[in-house]
């Protein structure tokens, strides 16, 4: 069965832009017109029929097909080679535990963080070094952007429509990172989450904006982590006290100290889980005293368990700058990891 999307004819490229913008089908930036040939090329690359059911958004029962993902991927600037990653990300987001509807509609304004692992990073020219959290390379930029267009056009998650974000954050344009596996002595994020080595994978997380930290005054791993933990504790006080998935991005300059001291990702997770805690009474120091009540002694942990922490090796070669990426809201949404291009009949992780 061929493409079933409704077709329109426009005079030229400029007309195509205004056609899509006037219908609120874009993210405000120019789009690549999704011609039938371009969309079919994506489907051919991924060896998927247009009607292939990628998943169903559980809350509204919205069917998501390969064709519709491909249309939006092309609009975002994806080439056919990017499309399997887009499909994997969508598959992960549609898992019930990700709670895509809630994450997308919430006033909390999170975006979908996408982390790429495995050989596909080098195949697509992804770069997990300089500007890892910004526009580091074409592939992560367009894959991240496709997520936003998919949410807008397939789930009506447009500002003021389903998306009721008070503020949102710039990650809603594109929030995609390739882990710098070649320069890391650790297990990759996907391996740490159960994907076999050398299998490409994508991890999605409903995430707030990244909070940059800096520590260039120690070589002790515990002290470096204390800086990350301080930012996590600040998030618990300033934003949400509830435990959930946190992601931390550790650049090469800081990773070298962990390597010198022999700290694994497991060691980091154990340390952070133990120390990233606050007491409810601390809310009184940041304007939230009204809700301390008689529960000031109650302790809250940033992570419900050690594996809630996602550790990502990324960043340019110089600079003791890391990042804490907080969850949307506690455990309402769980990070999901799926293999890319794996057997379509296999259940995701």
């Amino acid at each position: 069965m061929g493409l079933r999307s409704k077709r329109y004819e426009v005079n030229d490229l400029q007309a195509a832009q205004e056609f899509y913008h006037s219908r609120n089908w874009t993210d405000g930036l120019p789009v690549v017109p999704p011609t039938p040939d371009a969309v079919q090329a994506c489907l051919d690359w991924a060896m998927m029929p247009a009607s292939h059911l990628v998943g169903i958004e559980p809350v509204r029962g919205r069917v998501i097909t390969a064709e519709k993902l491909a249309v939006n991927a092309v609009m975002a600037g994806c080439l056919p080679m990017h499309f399997p990653v887009v499909v994997a990300a969508a598959t992960a987001m549609l898992q019930e535990k990700f709670l895509l509807h809630g994450a997308t509609a919430s006033t909390g304004g999170c975006a979908v963080l996408v982390v790429i692992n495995g050989p596909i990073r080098t195949e697509l020219g992804m770069d997990g070094t300089f500007n890892a959290l910004a526009s580091s390379d074409r592939s992560t930029s367009v894959i991240g952007r496709s997520i936003r267009l998919i949410l807008c056009n397939l789930l009506d998650a447009r500002p003021g429509d389903l998306d009721r974000s008070t503020l949102g954050h710039p990650g809603k344009f594109s929030y995609c990172i390739a882990e710098d596996e070649e320069n890391s002595f650790w297990l990759s994020l996907s391996e740490d989450r159960g994907i076999p080595k050398d299998v490409s994978a994508v991890t999605v997380m409903a995430a707030g904006s990244p909070r940059q930290i800096m520590n260039e005054w120690t070589t002790e791993p515990s002290e470096i982590l204390d800086t990350f933990i301080s930012e996590m504790q600040a998030n618990m006080k300033h934003y949400s006290i509830w435990a959930g998935n946190y992601a931390i991005v550790i650049p090469p300059q800081l990773r070298s100290h962990f390597k010198a001291s022999g700290w694994s990702k497991a060691d980091i997770k154990r340390y952070v889980h133990t120390k990233a805690r606050i007491h409810r009474s601390e809310w009184a120091n940041c304007g939230k005293g009204a809700v301390v009540l008689d529960r000031g002694d109650r302790e809250y942990t940033a992570l419900s368990n050690e594996d809630s922490l996602l550790i990502i090796a990324a960043g340019g070669p110089a600079g003791g700058f890391g990042a804490v990426i907080p969850p949307w809201l506690g455990q309402k949404s769980a990070a999901v990891t799926v293999a890319i291009g794996a057997c379509l009949d296999c259940g995701p992780i």
């Binding site: 493409l3 999307s5 409704k6 077709r7 329109y8 004819e9 426009v10 005079n11 030229d12 490229l13 007309a15 195509a16 056609f19 899509y20 089908w25 017109p33 999704p34 011609t35 039938p36 969309v39 809350v59 919205r62 069917v63 519709k68 249309v71 939006n72 609009m75 709670l99 509807h101 809630g102 994450a103 509609a105 919430s106 006033t107 267009l149 056009n153 397939l154 789930l155 009506d156 809201l329 309402k332």
Partner: protein, 118 residues
């Protein structure tokens, strides 16, 4: 005369082949990126003829901002409209649909009011 009419219109309708090719090349056929699913037609729930003696369920999304409004609403129902019972419930997750048990319970109500707060 007929020949003149035909030749005049032929000139009007004739384009230089290269020009036609260029125009055809410039036009784009593009696809709809939206879900294009059929919109379900919602109909209004049946209106109650009276409120006297009925059971009304009020379901909050679970946020504290709903409480003062629903408190006032409940008081109004009881005092002004003499309802038999007002059932107050909250969703366990304000970012997800109502719990299944709650929807089962709602089948026993005469009216259902849902609201969101922050």
């Amino acid at each position: 005369m007929d020949n003149d009419y035909v030749s005049h219109n032929s000139l009007k309708d004739t384009k230089v082949p290269e020009q036609q090719q260029l125009e055809d090349a410039m036009s784009l056929e593009i696809l709809d990126p939206t879900h294009e699913t059929d919109i379900r037609n919602f109909t209004l729930a049946r209106r109650l003829e009276r409120l006297h003696g009925v059971t009304i369920g009020i379901v909050s999304n679970g946020k504290i901002g709903t409480e003062p409004f629903f408190d006032a609403l409940e008081a109004n129902f009881v005092k002004e409209f003499d309802v038999a019972k007002v059932v107050r419930r909250s969703k366990s997750n304000y970012s997800a649909p109502a719990d299944t048990y709650l929807m089962e319970e709602a089948k026993h109500w005469d009216a259902f009011i849902a609201g969101i707060g922050d």
